[in-house]
């Protein structure tokens, strides 16, 4: 017994893990800061085109998204398969974009920097995009961004 006791004393002392939770919490907070919650539930399906000359959307707070594409598989039965425009959580017409822009601007501190990101399906007909662009011009939301993935 005496021998065992001696051995225990010589062994490494256990590491103090009481600060481990704090460490993890720090990582947690970091992730909460740098990531954004997925805000909207997508009601349209889209595969964005691929390009080479892309720029990153740095400031998330000034970006508003417009989604264009056919309804998702679950909604196709009721909504059909024609191209739809989604603003926030619902389907909308191109002319409603103007109100959407105004509403988005309300919460922005630097409204001049507003960027509209258009996430449109590759097979969308240009008519829809042109309509949206026309309304965007009228509402003075001139900085736009055609959302895309990088290709080599």
């Amino acid at each position: 017994m005496a021998g065992f006791k001696k051995k225990e004393k010589r062994g490494m002392p256990e590491m103090n893990t009481s600060s481990l939770p704090d460490l993890i919490f720090t990582i947690l907070f970091f992730f909460m800061m740098v990531t954004t919650m997925r805000e909207v539930t997508l009601k349209v399906k889209f595969t964005i085109p691929a390009g080479t000359e892309l720029e990153k959307l740095e400031k998330k707070s000034v970006v508003s998204f417009i989604y264009v594409g056919p309804p998702t598989d679950q909604l196709r039965a009721q909504m059909g398969s024609g191209t739809r425009i989604q603003l926030n959580d619902r389907y909308a017409e191109a002319r409603e974009v103007m109100d959407f822009i105004a509403a988005e601007r309300q919460g922005m501190t630097n409204q001049a920097e507003q960027i509209i990101s258009i996430k449109a399906d590759q097979h969308t007909q240009m008519g829809y995009i042109t309509d949206i662009k026309e309304v965007l011009r009228k509402s003075w939301a001139l900085r736009i961004n055609y959302s895309a993935t990088r290709r080599n």
Binding site: T17, S18, L20, P21, I24, F25, I27, L28, F31, M32, V34, T35, T36, M37, R38, P49, G51, T52, E53, L54, E55, K56, L57, V63, V68, I115, S117, I118, A120, D121, Q122, H123, T124, Q125, M126, G127, I129, T130, K133, L136, R137, K138, W140, A141, L142, R143, I144, N145, Y146, S147, A148, T149, R150
Partner: protein, 200 residues
């Protein structure tokens, strides 16, 4: 002795780490860090309602028409030639058009322009690339065209930046960038400009 026995045992906090780990994983799953990327463009200002007839008069040699039909087929037209083209032909064509290295009479006219840092330059700042689409043109075809146009300008600007400042465009100082942008301004029009001069 009795007092020490009554003392509450400390709360076991070994699992706090696991709990926070679970929170962390939850946030990792529900949030997205994917940086959104895209092709940044700037729309022209809305037309002035007081000014009804705001048509631009542009000499024919200054215009390069980029047309996309309902099938997404590309049609290029300027003074040199016209016809259907592949998307891969667009970039060299645009570069040649904007640059007009030999000062040809069928490519955009050159002007002397005084640019800070660069001095007197011969630039084709009056050129216009007119993109026209059909309502049924697939968005992807239009996007690829826009991508190639931006790529052509970026390549031109990069070449000039390397020649004048010895660095790529993205590493230049703001005033140097401005000078390069004045040398190669992006004139992409999506409205139909009126043409005059030359035979139609």
């Amino acid at each position: 002795m009795a007092k020490t026995k009554k003392k509450m045992p400390g709360l076991n906090t070994t699992s706090t780490a696991d709990i926070s780990f679970m929170l962390l994983i939850f946030f990792l799953v529900t949030t997205s860090m994917d940086t959104d990327m895209g092709l940044a463009r700037r729309l022209p200002k809305p037309p002035d309602p007081d000014q009804e007839d705001a048509t631009m008069d542009i000499k024919k040699r200054n215009i390069l028409y980029v047309r996309l039909n309902f099938n997404g087929q590309l049609w290029l037209e300027d003074e040199t030639n016209r016809g259907y083209a592949e998307i891969s032909e667009l970039r060299p064509r645009v570069k040649e058009f904007v640059k007009n290295e030999q000062n040809l009479s069928v490519l955009p006219e050159k002007h002397v322009k005084n640019i800070d840092l660069l001095g007197q330059c011969f630039v084709t700042d009056k050129h216009v690339i007119s993109v026209q689409t059909d309502r049924a043109t697939p968005y992807n075809a239009y996007f690829q065209v826009q991508n190639e146009l931006v790529a052509a300008y970026n390549e031109l600007r990069n070449e000039l930046a390397k020649e004048k400042f010895g660095r790529e465009f993205q590493y230049l100082k703001d005033e140097e960038k401005l000078a390069i942008k004045q040398y190669y301004p992006q004139n992409i029009s999506e409205a139909e400009p009126k043409k005059y001069g030359g035979d139609q």
